[in-house]
C-alpha cells in the first residue's frame, strides 16, 4: 500500500515539477514540446514505479495505434490537390530539395555509423539507418506556427518553412513505409507465395487507397456537422483509423503511411473540412498521449543515452543544416535565399515519435529501444531550441513584427483548407 501511494506521490510531484520547468521554457523560449508527458509516462512505466506494467503498456496498443494513425492521417489531409496546385514552384523546389538533401546526408552518415562503426550487416544497417534518417528528416511546423501566433509574420520565408516541414514529414513517412514494405518482417500463410518487396509496397499503398475510398463512402459526401457536434465524426474517424492501422499491423506494415494515404483521399473528398478541423483540434492531445506511451515503453540503456543518442542528435543537426543550406542557398530564388533554412526546421514533433514507436512495434528485435531513445532525446532537445532558432532565421530573412504586438493572425490554415 505504502509503495503504491509513494509511487503515486513520486509521479505527481515529478509531473508537476516537470510541468513547471517546461512551462518556464514555454514562456521564455516559446517551447512547443511536451517533455513532461514523456516524463510522466516514464515514471508510470515498468522501468520506474511499475504502476503500468509491461502487459498494461501493451494493452494500450489500440490507443497508440489510434494516435499513430491520427498523426499520419492529419499529415495526409495537408495535401489537398487544389491547394497544392496553387503553390509557387520555387516553394516546391526548396521543400523537396531540403527534404531529400537532409534525408540523403543523414542516411549516408547513419549507414556509415551502423555498418562501419557498429558492424551490422548491410540489411540491418539499412533498416536502422533509414528509420533514423526518416526521423532526422522530419520537421514540424509547430515552432513556425507558434511564431506566427505570437508575432506578425511578414517574412516570405514563413510559408516556405511551413510547406517544407510538411514535405519533410511526407518524405520521412514515405521512406519509412517503403522500408517496412521492402524489408518486410513476418511469415505469410503456407497457402500463398510470399509477396516480393515490390508487391508489399503495392499492398501497402492499396490498403491505404482502399481504406480511403471506403471511408469516403462511409462518411458520405456532405458535412457531418448536421449530425450533432464533432463527437460522432470522432467515433467514425477513430474507427476508420483503427481499422486501417489494424490492417497495417496485421501485415507488419506502417499504419502511419497507410493513414497518410487515407488522409490524402479524405482531404480530397467532400467531408474534408470537417475531417481536417477535427484532426487539427485533436492533434495535441493525440501527440501528448503518444508521448506518455513512448515514455512508458521507454527503457534506455547507458550506452544509448551516452553514445548513440548524442551522436544521432549531432548527425541530425549536421544533416539539417547541410540540407537547409543546399535548398536555401543553392536552389532558392533571391527573395527566399538563406543559408540557415535548416536552423528554422529543427523542431521534430509528433510524427518523429510516432515513427519510432511504430518501429519498436514492428521490429522490436532490431534495436527498438535504441531507435526510441535516440528519437526521444532528439525530439526533446530540438523542441527546446526550435522556437528561438525559427525566430532568429525569420528575423534575419526580413523582419518579424514587434514581439510586444499582439497578433491578430490565427494559426495558418493547412493546405487542405
Amino acid at each position: 500500500m505504502q509503495t503504491t501511494l509513494a509511487a503515486l506521490a513520486v509521479i505527481t510531484v515529478g509531473y508537476i515539477l516537470a510541468y513547471l520547468v517546461f512551462d518556464r521554457l514555454r514562456d521564455r523560449f516559446g517551447y512547443v514540446g511536451g517533455a513532461e508527458y514523456v516524463i510522466i509516462g516514464f515514471l508510470l512505466g515498468p522501468r520506474m514505479t511499475g504502476l503500468l506494467g509491461a502487459a498494461e503498456v501493451q494493452d494500450l496498443t489500440p490507443i497508440v495505434s489510434l494516435a499513430l494513425g491520427w498523426l499520419g492521417m492529419l499529415l495526409g489531409t495537408y495535401f489537398r490537390l487544389p491547394a497544392l496546385a496553387r503553390i509557387d514552384t520555387s516553394h516546391l523546389r526548396i521543400a523537396f530539395t531540403e527534404a531529400l538533401a537532409t534525408f540523403g546526408f543523414a542516411l549516408a552518415a547513419l549507414l556509415a555509423l551502423f555498418h562501419y562503426v557498429s558492424g551490422y550487416a548491410w540489411p540491418e544497417a539499412i533498416i536502422q539507418a533509414v528509420t533514423l534518417a526518416a526521423v532526422a528528416t522530419l520537421s514540424s511546423a509547430a515552432a513556425v506556427d507558434a511564431l506566427t501566433g505570437r508575432h506578425r509574420p511578414v517574412s516570405p520565408l514563413v510559408p516556405v518553412l511551413q510547406f517544407t516541414a510538411r514535405i519533410d514529414a511526407l518524405i520521412a513517412v514515405a521512406a519509412f513505409g517503403l522500408l517496412l514494405a521492402i524489408f518486410h518482417q513476418g511469415q505469410v500463410s503456407l497457402t500463398v507465395r510470399p509477396p516480393t518487396a515490390t508487391e508489399w509496397a503495392v499492398i501497402n499503398v492499396a490498403v491505404g487507397v482502399s481504406s480511403g475510398v471506403l471511408f469516403h463512402l462511409f462518411l458520405g459526401p456532405g458535412s457531418r456537422s448536421d449530425e450533432g457536434q464533432g463527437s460522432r465524426l470522432f467515433v467514425a474517424l477513430a474507427g476508420a483509423i483503427v481499422v486501417a492501422s489494424g490492417a497495417s499491423y496485421y501485415l507488419n506494415l506502417s499504419p502511419i503511411y497507410t493513414n497518410l494515404v487515407l488522409g490524402f483521399i479524405l482531404a480530397n473528398s467532400g467531408a474534408h473540412r470537417d475531417v481536417t478541423r477535427l484532426l487539427l483540434n485533436t492533434e495535441r492531445p493525440v501527440y501528448l498521449a503518444l508521448l506518455v506511451f513512448a515514455g512508458a515503453a521507454w527503457s534506455p540503456s547507458s550506452p544509448e543515452l551516452l553514445f548513440v543518442a548524442p551522436l544521432f542528435v549531432l548527425i541530425r543537426l549536421a544533416a539539417r543544416l547541410a540540407g537547409g543550406w543546399v535548398a536555401g542557398a543553392l536552389s532558392a530564388p533571391p527573395l527566399l535565399r538563406t543559408p540557415w533554412l535548416g536552423r528554422a526546421l529543427l523542431a521534430q514533433g509528433g510524427i518523429a515519435v510516432a515513427l519510432a514507436v511504430n518501429y519498436t512495434q514492428v521490429r522490436p528485435d532490431l534495436n527498438g529501444d535504441l531507435i526510441l531513445t535516440a528519437t526521444l532525446v532528439s525530439v526533446l532537445l530540438f523542441d527546446i531550441v526550435a522556437s528561438r532558432e525559427v525566430t532568429q532565421v525569420v528575423a534575419a530573412s526580413s523582419a518579424v513584427g514587434d514581439p510586444a504586438t499582439p497578433t491578430d493572425v490565427a494559426r495558418p490554415e493547412p493546405l487542405s483548407s
Partner: protein, 430 residues
C-alpha cells in the same frame, strides 16, 4: 445507412482477403483485435445512428452492434478479442466514473437528499424482498438453488437479489448526455444510481461473505465480515481522496491537456486498484466528487472536457458490453429470466412511486423516477463475474441467470428512461 452497411461488409470482406498474408502470431494485443475493434466502433456508430432515426437511445444501437458482432451471434468479434479490449473498457468506465462523481453536487444532494434516500432505501428493500421471495418460492425452477439447504438457499438468493438491486450509472449518464436532459428527474436519478453504487458494494460484500460461509468456504464471523467490508470501502475512499488531490493539483498548477491527464489518471488508478485490491469505479467517483465539491479549484474545465469525450467513451463501453453478452447461455432459462425481470420491474416501479410520494418529491420524479432505476449494465455484470469466479459451485448458473436479466434490463431500461425524461419535459437535445 445502407451505404454504410455495405462499406462495413466490404471491410470485413477485405479483411478476409488479407488473412493469408500473415501467419497467425501471438501477441498481447493481436493485430486482428485492433482491426476488429475498429469494425466494432464503425458498426456501433452506424447502429447508433439507426437507433437515433428510430427514436430509441443511441446506446441501444451500440449494444445491438456489439451483440450482433460478438460471439453470441455473428462471432466476428471473438472472446479473445474482447479480452484484448478489456483495458479499453476499463478506461471507459474510469472516465465516466470521474464524470459521474463530478456531476454529483453537494447542493443537489442536500436539496434532494431526502428523496434520494427514500427512493434508494425502498428500491433496495423492495428488490431484495421481492427477488428473494420469488427465487425461494420458485426454487425448483432456479438452477443454482437445487439441492441446497434452506439457510444456504436463503443466503444464495440474497446474494443474487443484491445483484439485481444494482442500477447503471453508465446508462444514466449516457442518456443524460445524449438527451441533454436537465431537471429534477435527471438530478434525482443520477443521485440515486450513484449513491446506490456505494450501497451495493457494501451489500454485495456482506452478502457474498454470508453466501460463501453458508457454502462452507469460510467460517468468518459477522465482526470479521464487517471489518473486511469497511476495509474494502476505506481503501477505495482513501484512493479516491488521493486521486482527487492529484487532479486538484493538476487543475491548480497545469490547467491544460485535460483529456490526456484524465486518461493517465484512470490508467494509474487502475494499476493501483489492481495492486491494492480496491474498487476502481467507487474510488474514481469519489475523486470526481471531491474535485467538484471540496477542492479549492474550478472543476468546470475538467467536467466540460469529460463531457466532450463522453460520446466516444460510451460507444466503446456499450459496444464492448454488447459483445460480451452471451444470450445463448441463458436461452434455456428464459421463463425464469422473464419472471425475474417482471418481479424486479414491479419492485422498482413501486419503490420509485412510493419513495417519491413519501419524500414529497416533485410530481415528475414520483411519476417517472422508477424509469431511471430499470437499466443495468457494467457493475452488475462485474459482480456476476466475481460470483462465477469465486463461488464455482453455484456461481456459473447465478452468472448465467443474472446476465439474462441484465440483457433485458439493458435493452428495456434506456427506452423507458428516455420516455420518462421526455414525458417529464427535461429533454433538450433532439
Amino acid at each position: 445507412m445502407i451505404r454504410r452497411l455495405v462499406v462495413l461488409m466490404l471491410l470485413v470482406g477485405g479483411a478476409v482477403l488479407l488473412e493469408p498474408l500473415r501467419a497467425p502470431t501471438e501477441g498481447v494485443i493481436a493485430p486482428r483485435s485492433l482491426f476488429l475493434f475498429g469494425i466494432l466502433l464503425l458498426t456501433a456508430d452506424t447502429f447508433g445512428a439507426l437507433a437515433h432515426d428510430l427514436r430509441v437511445p443511441r446506446l441501444l444501437g451500440y449494444l445491438v452492434a456489439g451483440l450482433a458482432l460478438g460471439p453470441s451471434i455473428a462471432g466476428i468479434v471473438p472472446v479473445g478479442v474482447l479480452e484484448d479490449l478489456s483495458m479499453m473498457k476499463r478506461l471507459a468506465v474510469g472516465l465516466i466514473a470521474v464524470l459521474a462523481g463530478a456531476e454529483l453536487r453537494i447542493a443537489d444532494l442536500r436539496q434532494r437528499g431526502r428523496v434520494i434516500a427514500f427512493i434508494l432505501a425502498l428500491q433496495t428493500i423492495f428488490v431484495l424482498v421481492a427477488v428473494v421471495a420469488t427465487t425461494l418460492f420458485a426454487a425448483r425452477w432456479i438452477p443454482f438453488l437445487a439441492g441446497l439447504s434452506a439457510s444456504t438457499a436463503f443466503f444464495i438468493a440474497l446474494l443474487f437479489a443484491v445483484m439485481l438491486t444494482v442500477n447503471s450509472p453508465m446508462v444514466t449518464l449516457a442518456l443524460l448526455t445524449e438527451t441533454g436532459a436537465k431537471g429534477p428527474l435527471s438530478r434525482t436519478t443520477l443521485g440515486v444510481v450513484l449513491v446506490a453504487d456505494v450501497v451495493v458494494i457494501l451489500l454485495f460484500t456482506g452478502a457474498f461473505s454470508l453466501a460463501q460461509a453458508s457454502l462452507g468456504g469460510t467460517t468468518a464471523g459477522a465482526g470479521v465480515i464487517m471489518g473486511q467490508l469497511l476495509w474494502e470501502v476505506s481503501k477505495a475512499v482513501l484512493a479516491g481522496v488521493v486521486v482527487g488531490g492529484i487532479m486538484s493539483l493538476h487543475l491548480h498548477f497545469v490547467k491544460r491537456e485535460l483529456v490526456v491527464f484524465a486518461v493517465v489518471v484512470v490508467f494509474a488508478t487502475a494499476g493501483a486498484a489492481e495492486a491494492l485490491h480496491f474498487e476502481l469505479l467507487l474510488s474514481l467517483v469519489i475523486a470526481g466528487f471531491l474535485v467538484e465539491n471540496v477542492a479549492p479549484v474550478r472543476a468546470e474545465p475538467l467536467v466540460e472536457t469529460l463531457h466532450q469525450a463522453a460520446v466516444p467513451v460510451f460507444v466503446v463501453f456499450f459496444a464492448i458490453t454488447g459483445a460480451e453478452l452471451r444470450i445463448e447461455e441463458f436461452a434455456s432459462f428464459w421463463p425464469a429470466v422473464v419472471a425475474l425481470v417482471l418481479v424486479r420491474l414491479i419492485a422498482v416501479f413501486g419503490s420509485g412511486r412510493l419513495g417519491g410520494l413519501w419524500a414529497g418529491a416533485e410530481p415528475v420524479v414520483t411519476r417517472y423516477g422508477w424509469t431511471g432505476l430499470v437499466p443495468q449494465a457494467g457493475v452488475a455484470l462485474g459482480l456476476a463475474t466475481t460470483v462465477a469466479d469465486r463461488l464455482p459451485a453455484v456461481g456459473l448458473s447465478i452468472q448465467t441467470l443474472t446476465i439474462g436479466i441484465i440483457a433485458i434490463n439493458q435493452a428495456l431500461g434506456p427506452i423507458l428512461f428516455r420516455r420518462g425524461l421526455e414525458r417529464a419535459g427535461e429533454v433538450t437535445a433532439v
